[in-house]
Symmetry: C2
Subunit: 275 residues, 2 copies
Amino acid sequence: MIHKYCYFQGAITQFDKAHISLNDLGVLRGYGVFDFYRSYNGKPFHLKEHYARFQNSARSIGLTVPVSFKNFEKITLDLLKKNKVKDASFRAVLLGGPVQNSLAPARPTFYILNEEAYAPTDEQAKNGVSLMVHEYLRYIPEAKTTNYMEAVKMQKEKIKQKAYEILYVLNGEVLECSTSNIFMIKGKHLITPKKNILKGITRKVILKIAKKDFIIEERDVEIYELLLADEVFISGTNKEILPIIKVGKKVIGNGKVGEKTKLLMKLWKDITHNI
Amino acid sequence: MIHKYCYFQGAITQFDKAHISLNDLGVLRGYGVFDFYRSYNGKPFHLKEHYARFQNSARSIGLTVPVSFKNFEKITLDLLKKNKVKDASFRAVLLGGPVQNSLAPARPTFYILNEEAYAPTDEQAKNGVSLMVHEYLRYIPEAKTTNYMEAVKMQKEKIKQKAYEILYVLNGEVLECSTSNIFMIKGKHLITPKKNILKGITRKVILKIAKKDFIIEERDVEIYELLLADEVFISGTNKEILPIIKVGKKVIGNGKVGEKTKLLMKLWKDITHNI
């Protein structure tokens, strides 16, 4: 659910009273970027990193985020206050702006939606979920553009395959999921792809908190390695750490959530609950 | 310029009073298709073909055009009447629709903008224009999705190179331009790419009217062939037939608009002026 108040073009306003022009480049030409972050207990989680990534995404398609970090943070905190929530997610969106007859961006459209903090169900977190495998490389994978047509198009197939998420692979190489990063555990090694992916902030924090207990490898991962891993999980702002027990038709390990994934989930809970 | 009245979700309405929700999948996930057509002297040009292509584009990403052809035609004619114009272009847009927390399309957003019928300047049509060359394959090239991020991103470079349009090539194979199709003339042969392109309605009509004077070849075209062609031109709803005198740094033929292109331009004028 989207909360009542959002930020739109310079002011906090009611979500259902703010609108986009029919001729925005973000609509007519799919020209936009976004970032997705959340708060725990009223505190934005790693907001600086999200802002930096948002800037980077914008830059990669030739746009500029129109507010400073300080302002970005203020808007975020104001939204929490105005919507009277503490745990919430935020979707910052930057579009090319309205145009009359041109492919060239004009005055960008910038807004931030404040949404419920969704999470996998307790059952999903406890028992793990499945992935479907799909050959695909995102356009400018390092940036969070609004170009998710392939992910939307694949939703029906995902449901048909009873999968929770879509794993993108390219020529046998594991990349990322449609809205999350992927990790595998093999012995003492925690391994995650490094190239042609969106580097998630959750991914980054996991690599940090895992250092003590794992040998970290950021590198190319072949699909056969993933299928033969001891444990697999995905990560994302709203998914946090979510165990994967099946990839395509292959059961991972013994089909149960592994102890090392549980350890990381516990470490994650610790840092987000004591924020 | 966009005319005062548009069609939006079931009714003719003022363009500046119709809006898109901040959470439309067409915005948040770039999930949409469109079609672009025009009228000559109050008569929609090859509307059936445009409607069929629009349906096909929609289908290819899992959407359905929510109006029948009869209704589509009526809306088009009503817009001309309401805006008091006879020569105009139309942009029919179909988006995934507003969502709360999902990648799955809900109730689609459908609208038609009525716009001025832009055309190249007399000078451009008389003396020809240049293309820049860019390695790129559009996502689902046979469909007219709203995914034009690469085209928008390349606008600055296009201006820098003083080019009129961007020619997409893939591994040495000529495909299409960012918003037009491409043709080359070699002796009596009129040659145009067949695969991995959006099949323009203008392209289709050209192939029909050229039959009498040319040997038509729809086939793979290598970039070196294009550079060595006698004549080159591009086609599109608003560009009609526009001569190309330079591709990248290579001057085509003697750098002047060729006689055979002029013949086709004349044939085009005949059919559109006597509609």
